[in-house]
Amino acid sequence: MPFDLPLSAALRKARWKVKIREKENREPPHVTIIRGTQAWRINLRTGEFMDRHPDPADVPGEIIVHIKTEENWTLLCQQWDEKYPTNPVHEPDDNDGE
């Protein structure tokens, strides 16, 4: 099943969801923030929004803070790695090798 990061009651009521879904093995490791018909992706390798549209500024700051707490970030990375072991967040050789 998808990994669904627990959110506060207020955020859930406002229809926000934070998920790692199946069938995303061809994408860079990421977590998806969903509300209604819109979605925002945050790259688990860089911590940055992956797309300019929809506008990242539309995501409540408290969701970003919540996602990026050390505990939740570690959990999200673990969940991604479990789902996609051939496309892990941290590759063994993750510097530029120069």
């Binding site: 099943m1 199946e22 069938k23 061809r26 209604g36 018909t37 819109q38 797309d51 941290h90 993750d94």
Partner: protein, 282 residues
Amino acid sequence: MTTTENEPVILKTKPVPAGRQMFLLDKTKRRPERFSLLHPQVVSTAGGLRDSLARATKDTLWVSYEKDLTEALLKSVLGPPRSLGKALLIHALNPLSIPVLTSCFKRFASASNKEFLPPDELAEALQAVNSSNLFIGGSVDPTNRTITLWRGNLEPLTVPFSAFEKSGDGIEPNFDRFSVTDSGQTVRFGDYEAAADAILYEFDPEYRRHVSKERRQSERTFGASLRRLRKQRGLRREDFEPKVAAKTIARIEQGLVHRIQKDTLNSIADRLQVRPEEIETY
């Protein structure tokens, strides 16, 4: 920006175009409220269909939850065929009706109630700016091992079961438990949830081309900025050699390098004729 319980949910939807109308064929009392985003004109009796037919245009959207009203509608179509717009039939369908539906509607989609989004999410998806990239419903064909998904513009997309691979944590799709959720952004097979955009990316070449181009242009990573700037300078990855290997440039652009060494960054910036800290501003 913060969100509280009292904050209204702002939906990114397009306004209903002038002249576009929706007829909701429905006998329930409460369902029409859930379609309020589309300003439906509710038809609950066969007698009410005559007036609706007279006003229908090629841009009309018909949503029917009532098989008998759909059949009455088709019986009422007299004279030479004309397009009545699009139809979404959320009930069992007699296969013999398919030819007449094809001649009356420029597009129609059909499946049972549980195979479509719930009414409020359905209205939201039909009205969304990105409606063609959302799945409003679908139907599973176990004989041919395919699933046909309906997009928000009522175009079908047929996908084989084999597209939904078991994930690394052992979750497998259960095709007997199909539904769509997240206002059309997710296709669910029991515990397995597939992102609509991942399905479209794999099976719709036009969507793939569009998204690839858009992502290249709008990605906010350092790697994406480097790629845009390199292209802007008309450089190939090999043009950074011998100081920086083309393979290294490729890995940085793909977001596969977490820590770029200072000498590498300086060499790249030097070749691009910018300061190192300027790269990510492109």
